[in-house]
Symmetry: C2
Subunit: 130 residues, 2 copies
């Protein structure tokens, strides 16, 4: 299990129950929307406020703990920040899978890249065979 308390403190954020729970949700699912985090957490923690999730998602993105994944035609999902990778997004079941960014060595003239965002939309193995 990941130590979310250290992760937050390393990034200059107080380790509150709310934040560690949000990180647990994100990590458990891999990629999740704000609404889904709220639906999931309020079962065990009914006083949790949606506003708190919004505030913390924004803050944790700014501090580099998590990363936004904007998706065509859908609400953004969030993931724990990790090494660069690409997203395979299934247009049929909606599932997102991570893959290594190996086969693709991008280097652009006259542009200083800070980070890459590569989403491939298509059909996952399961949905192909249907």
């Amino acid at each position: 299990m990941v130590d979310y308390i250290s992760l937050l403190k390393q990034n200059n954020l107080k380790a509150t129950i709310q934040r560690t729970n949000i990180l647990k949700s994100i990590n458990r699912t891999g990629h999740i929307t704000i609404d889904e985090i709220y639906e999931e957490l309020k079962i065990d923690y009914p006083t949790l406020s949606l506003a708190t999730i919004y505030k913390n998602i924004l803050l944790m993105v700014q501090h580099g703990v998590i990363v936004e994944i904007p998706i065509s035609g859908e609400k953004s999902k969030y993931e724990i920040k990790k090494d660069e990778h690409i997203h395979l997004i299934c247009k049929s079941c909606g599932n997102i899978e991570d893959r290594e960014l190996s086969s693709c060595n991008i280097d652009i003239e006259d542009f200083n890249i800070i980070f890459k965002q590569i989403n491939l939309y298509g059909l996952c193995r399961n949905c192909q065979s249907k």
Copy 2:
């Protein structure tokens, strides 16, 4: 100049003034948000409704005339559908530049790719020299 009337008809959409004007805005800027389209068009065309723009953007995306570009931390922009390319998004001035998708030949096992979305965030040439 592009013939927006034919473009719309080819994609089974009636060619209305509103639609051709929206396409002109998108094409002029390359990439633009819904709000920006509205601000721009209502100068010359004050009765245009924001709801009409929302409806038409959705419709033209569904019919494959335009494409959504979701962007981390910002509202989506839209562009005319064209050959695959990547986006260089400047974190400083916000400008988006298109580049060819040549250096990067992605092929993934067990995943049937329908379309790719590659955004590179960084500093454009202008903003680097500041």
